[in-house]
Symmetry: D2
Amino acid sequence: MIITLKNQKDIEQRESLIDWIKDLGLDVHISEGVGTTILGLIGDTSKVDIDLIRSLDIVDSVNRIQEPFKNANRKFHPADSIIDVSGVKFGGDNFQFIAGPCSVESEKQVVSIAEEVKKAGATLLRGGAFKPRTSPYAFQGLGVEGLKYLKKAREVTGLPIVSEIMSADFISDFEDVDLIQVGARNMQNFELLKELGKINKPILLKRGLANTIEEWLMSAEYIMSEGNENIILCERGIRTFEPYTRNTLDLSAVPILKEKTHLPVIVDPSHATGINRLVRPMSRAAVASGADGLLIEVHNDPQHALCDGAQSLKPEQFAEVVVDCKKILEVIR
Amino acid sequence: MIITLKNQKDIEQRESLIDWIKDLGLDVHISEGVGTTILGLIGDTSKVDIDLIRSLDIVDSVNRIQEPFKNANRKFHPADSIIDVSGVKFGGDNFQFIAGPCSVESEKQVVSIAEEVKKAGATLLRGGAFKPRTSPYAFQGLGVEGLKYLKKAREVTGLPIVSEIMSADFISDFEDVDLIQVGARNMQNFELLKELGKINKPILLKRGLANTIEEWLMSAEYIMSEGNENIILCERGIRTFEPYTRNTLDLSAVPILKEKTHLPVIVDPSHATGINRLVRPMSRAAVASGADGLLIEVHNDPQHALCDGAQSLKPEQFAEVVVDCKKILEVIR
Amino acid sequence: MIITLKNQKDIEQRESLIDWIKDLGLDVHISEGVGTTILGLIGDTSKVDIDLIRSLDIVDSVNRIQEPFKNANRKFHPADSIIDVSGVKFGGDNFQFIAGPCSVESEKQVVSIAEEVKKAGATLLRGGAFKPRTSPYAFQGLGVEGLKYLKKAREVTGLPIVSEIMSADFISDFEDVDLIQVGARNMQNFELLKELGKINKPILLKRGLANTIEEWLMSAEYIMSEGNENIILCERGIRTFEPYTRNTLDLSAVPILKEKTHLPVIVDPSHATGINRLVRPMSRAAVASGADGLLIEVHNDPQHALCDGAQSLKPEQFAEVVVDCKKILEVIR
Amino acid sequence: MIITLKNQKDIEQRESLIDWIKDLGLDVHISEGVGTTILGLIGDTSKVDIDLIRSLDIVDSVNRIQEPFKNANRKFHPADSIIDVSGVKFGGDNFQFIAGPCSVESEKQVVSIAEEVKKAGATLLRGGAFKPRTSPYAFQGLGVEGLKYLKKAREVTGLPIVSEIMSADFISDFEDVDLIQVGARNMQNFELLKELGKINKPILLKRGLANTIEEWLMSAEYIMSEGNENIILCERGIRTFEPYTRNTLDLSAVPILKEKTHLPVIVDPSHATGINRLVRPMSRAAVASGADGLLIEVHNDPQHALCDGAQSLKPEQFAEVVVDCKKILEVIR
């Protein structure tokens, strides 16, 4: 970490800063220039609070040399992490297709979709039981009942199941869910992250709507620092000024993450774009950018289901996406 | 609500949509144009899931006439709400100054700052006991111990206290806190909002980093729909591409909110800008824009306290801000 | 176009609005609902100033049914436009690789790079002669001299050349340039667009840093409405809050554009990301998303050239990108 | 300028970088740390191309100590610049109100508005003759004819006039305009800026829609580096994700600019918000934040003028704004 001090002579504050740094167990290399003083911090700076230093009156700027994340950092763990979700592996040479409905509506619905997506190539089943909704008046999901239907669909198809958790209070309800999703709105719900760090289940951590890649990795670090290292990251679009798509899918995040971290990275083109016609090209692009998997909304009865629409694929459309993606995988690997 | 249908002839889907709308207890006014059909929904549309309708294949666009928030809506509650925080009133003709340190460090620190900010004109004391930090390795606050010191400072000065809650699990610890803050990162922690809706304490609801004003009011609606109508909104800056300030303080949100809702609106210039030299001009501007109060970071010993800096004012600087703001209040009211 | 009026009784303003619409040669279909009135505009609304109507006191909202762009609109021109750049075709089943240095430095440099990129698979040569620089103190390019070197390189290799124009005053200097680039900062330089509409050369129109897709198409429309329909669009990243990449490459724009317009769309992964290690995965992703070509920075002597670096590929790296992309093209077409 | 090198041993590239820096007339202070090397550049670094250095493979990060703008920098010109617009002064203790219609429609209209805004307190008259419009089909302004009407209004009222220029080709038409406006879309039209730097007229430089404060000052620097130092900056809102206002007015930019530059800063609340009801509170807030003036849209016949509406004030509303702002000025100065 490089701290550039302002051009001034407040020796007292400067000495107080240097002492404080040394108290953290770090060495300080002082370099006096013309009109500026630079402090180089030597040692493990991941515990140093960069915001705190940046806020000091005598500090001009602070520059990390080391990244603030440790457990998630590829530098300290060069090999890809392989995350095992009830036998289905993410990371390394594996590629997985997670598919299913936005909301679990009934046992019949979810079992039938599960059978169809399995046939089309899905390796995991997704389905929302607890739904984060902007409005308190909107349908909030079937809750625990919905999880029961998902488990039934797993029993029938053998597909491991993925569903979103919205509070640490529900952890016991998710005991038998194979992969627990943390949604975009909860990416910085630190209390939830800490509790998920104490269990031994794989976590699917979606990127927050307006969070940087570094903040996202720090949220993974929250879970990992408590002991749970089974994390899969999911890019799902960020908020920009462009209105034609619901969010802007940031595919550059995929190769950046592959450099910075050893954790697997998957992409959700359905939520990112909000438009079903874009799911196929953006799925192809996600694979080509180096993603380890896809999370795709699929519904089997768009004629009568109201939650279908612009963002859900029909099973036969999903099957085409799977075929495309497998061919692209062969090309780039 | 106005639904514009695409220029197509899928009568089955269209009839299915109209039936579904009528099942919600609404009337539908159908208007056939050349190349387009418009449905006007008549009745209480606040329970209609706009995203769901927007996602239908046959729908071109959906336009709300009514806003989706009801309890927070000024249309149904034209008079300003007055929120009473242990005798200190927000809204209407009242204006309040909330001041105090970013983090509670010790009893001595917080009592001494409380005495100084009270003398300078503060009417409430703020202090962070549970701190939401991007890094798991950063100081997470003194927790329940910190709340104890705040209560001590209240005992000494008589100032009601404000502190941030990070999970519904801590609600019992906040029973004796006068005003409970929901931070930017938890603005859409819907489980927390629902639980805060069931208690009878005033809530200070900060705007999320990248949330629209409408989403913010919907989060207020979550709390209100559970029964707790004691909400104060706090603008604290949004995320943009500009790096000179930490966030971009959106003061236009103040007059917009005064139109849309009857709830009081305060402004936090300290977190929004991250620069103490900007707190005075932006406090003045916040008052001039019509805010009902200010939330300002004040520390009394910047020389030795490391958490002071660019964003905290000294008590004497805060006193100047109070004087300025009171003069501007006289001009505009 | 659907105009929703506010719930009010200002008959005079309403009649004045309806008269004004009829004066534009449009029919108005009036639909009275409970608490609202809707006007449906029938006819060619592309000339209606939507901002003007939106700003009227009596108007609640305005909704386009027709898109505001006409010449660029795929609805009125269903087949892909094929743009011929001195014999090299863009659009339809064609795919082109534009490669070359950021800045033209010398004749020797640009000729040598041209020979190498041609061998690696490039079908056009790019090179900056006039450079838009944030700072007036930075190197502004070789200007007309640079164009001369590009022409020399074309003579040697046969590759058509692409270079950026920064003002209509230079149009005569670009007479012999095969494809004239309008950079991001000039996307809404309407005077330049109008002048380029009067000539008969292909234009490479880059997306503005913070412009919507609709604004971008309206800029194409400026050129086309003056008579020049030879336009190729180039996505080059938009400005967001994410600092790890220079800009955020918006690949969803590719399939959206393929729906909305018949014009070819290419992608510039070099400027978008600013990081050479990301050029290969993002080139693959661009092809997979459906792009019609790539614009890639290539330099042949990174050891000694200072303008090389994070964003330029070496010719051998570029050759690998070409191979990858051709394989992906086979898969998706 | 501080350059942090990556932890690597490419001595050749490092020596080549150091030689290149020395060739620019700068001294280099080398500081070797554990795992990193830091270069401190000593001398006038405003001519150093920071992007170029940042793009080098061996460079980890570059940090400016000096700002890249020189002529505009308050460090080298501590006193406020006073810009004289035909006798009306901006900067220092002066405060000016610029008012008038969005578009010049006729001589009668603009003369009549000019008389009314003068009575209400305006000190300059604005009016659009050349209008930058997203659509080529929208009204593009009266052009030179519009300038003639503005001059007539100046003759009648004595108010200096302000109007927007869209290309250097029109500079001779603006010879007799008192203050030449560069609009947001042309803030980085560098060819236009250079030409405006060669004349001796005051320039009103609006901030680009998605430009940082530093980029804005660099655009001022373009004009100043050619010799014209008569620049007034105008904040007019930036593009964010918030849809309730047209743009987000960034008032924090005002005190930041007052620190960074000696140039006057005014605010345009009309375009920023796009809502006339917000013009009064945001004008107050702009004054309170420390602005040197306001640019406000005023129209005198909103009943019949279609270009009036959400964003224009009536003259009597403008008069109230002037009264408010003068009172706030007394308080804060």
